[in-house]
Symmetry: C2
Subunit: 341 residues, 2 copies
DNA sequence: TTGTAGGCGTTATCAA
DNA sequence: TTGATAACGCCTACAA
């Protein structure tokens, strides 16, 4: 059986209220009894019961997070870690859930809200009109989203400036002398993908490079999709000398396609990714990529969430964070680029 | 304000006990009142409060899992997913925590136990003598470990037969005609690493290949470590024709080292990894690797945990699961192997 | 078949 | 400064 506050109070010869005060408002207790109580607490290894505390405080100190499907998020590892670490600093913990089969995803959120499972939610993989965001706003339930969206009211979000990331990538490539720069992007309509294409266009214009529609190709995402798209791109008479992608997995697929064509990436062709996933760092050649500052993202998300927990009426706001470009061998060998073939 | 059982009972014109029975023992309630209560429940969108339920049942339906440090586990994504999915089928959720700074890791577990945070733990990254295992056994608190260990008493664990995985790898390589097969392993003393080396030795003997001490090299783990070790191995006068590793990250480092030497993996050299991480599948050439059946691992772990939750006295047992070998281009080109140089 | 009451372990309120 | 007591929302006896 676990130790209760009653046992501690008996042991210390005080009332339960006093023990509670020692823990929650030590200044209200005289030093003498305080130390007597503290002794009893440590002798009995007493820790307040979480459920009881939650029940009375109407607060669980738990934050809900629905895991994205496997393979969708290539930096989940770092993100989750930072999230847990950040939460822990505020006495919060992250509870994972999955869309229960048979029920819609939304129902899981709804049930959690009604049963007081968690104090708030962290959302990721949001898109333009995410029904979860609408639901949570309507329920006026605390949450933060990784990713902007359109919503009826302002809400808390953190996002990474993908457009800026791609601009930096294109600048880098243009600086190396590339002129035919292609981009492999997801189909239009993606909250994270569209700005990246916009960044590509802007940077190309600024670099004085011609924008040719055939240099903008679409792929569903993932390695195989990148491989196929890359193969097609490299099978053309007029090949691009550089291929920008919106996802590391796509870029790694392009690298494979280049090998299929007998080309050496980093020499015959430049390729870039997005996410700086572990696979990007460990690829041969190393994959130049846009790195999202996941630690910052997570920390900021927790910050925004905590401020809502403290004051439900707090002004909602968004944070747009700047990414870095990590340059690796997949975009090396400046000056050797020319019209291929 | 959230809906309480009281409001439901008022609305349905019954007592709270009856509402509770409708939810927990429907057969005790007459069909008439039952449907009346059910109506009230859905109209009011009533969901029982989790904290109150936990308090009274002395059960939180939460399982604690301490995230491994980033980069340690290359298959965390799949594992977590399967864990969450498996837990969800039993009405359990996974709560993540991190070693709170300043305190020892063990204290986090201790505190969780005493305060009734969770009903049990899932452990991963265990080693021979894991203090957490000792603590949990001593506290007779429900838990399952991913990985065997030495302990004072039997406990529940699930593990993947790493030795068998490496045996299959060596068999595969020997079948391709390789004779000088090296292994890059972690330093001795690792619960997961040692059996893999043992598997290597056994398979080499069985294949009638000479075991040369210089073919067994040690590396700390990780890409850079693999790159360095690989470079050294390939700088020798008598190079191995195949390099087995105990981790994908190491293998990818070896692939990079081979490129540094101007060698083409899959043709001049065979390389294998362990874990079948996303990076392995997306590497060029694709990395032959040992795939741990993470879905099964997680499912079995949940199974073992749930059985303890149902009956604390249940017999503890372990499960050793068989891995698969995923063959990719890094071990292709059979028959072209010879003494290099 | 249904209602009532006690208790799960805390914290907050109010007296003393 | 401390002690008693009433919630918090639920479930489970037990009584009706």
């Amino acid at each position: 059986m676990r130790t209760t506050i009653r046992q501690v109070s008996d042991r210390a010869g005080v009332s339960v209220g006093t023990v509670s005060n020692v823990l929650n408002a030590p200044n209200l207790v005289s030093p003498g009894t305080r130390s007597r109580v503290l002794d009893a607490i440590s002798e009995l290894e007493y820790w307040p019961n979480r459920s009881a505390r939650s029940l009375q405080a109407q607060r669980t100190h738990l934050i809900g997070y629905r895991l994205p499907d496997p393979g969708v998020s290539s930096a989940l590892d770092v993100f989750l870690h930072s999230l847990v670490a950040g939460a822990s600093e505020h006495g919060l913990e992250i509870v994972l859930f999955s869309g229960c089969k048979g029920h819609s995803d939304l129902d899981a959120y709804r049930a959690s809200i009604r049963s007081g499972d968690v104090d708030g939610f962290v959302l990721s993989e949001t898109n333009y009109t995410d029904p979860r965001i609408a639901l949570l706003i309507e329920s006026s339930f605390p949450f933060v989203a990784f990713g902007r969206a359109v919503a009826s009211q302002p809400f808390s979000w953190v996002d990474v400036d993908g457009a800026a990331g791609i601009v930096a990538i294109v600048d880098h490539l243009a600086g190396l002398g590339h002129q035919r720069i292609a981009i492999v992007a997801w189909p239009p309509g993606s909250e994270s993908g569209d700005p990246r294409v916009a960044g590509y266009l802007a940077a190309m214009v600024r670099a004085g490079l011609a924008i040719e529609p055939e240099l903008i190709v679409r792929a569903d995402g993932g390695f195989e999709s990148g491989r196929k798209t890359g193969w097609d791109l490299l099978s053309r008479r007029r090949r691009p000398t550089a291929i920008v992608t919106v996802q590391d997995d796509l870029a790694l697929g392009v690298i494979a396609a280049a090998a299929d064509h007998g080309m050496r990436v980093g020499r015959d062709l430049a390729v870039t990714g997005f996410d700086d996933s572990p696979a990007a760092a460990m690829s041969t050649p190393g994959l130049t990529s846009v790195r999202q500052p996941m630690e910052l993202v997570a920390a900021r998300m927790i910050e925004l969430l905590v401020s809502q927990l403290q004051d439900p009426e707090v002004q909602r706001s968004g944070s747009l964070l700047a990414p870095d470009v990590v340059i690796r061998a997949s975009t090396l060998s400046p000056g050797v680029w020319g019209e291929v073939r």
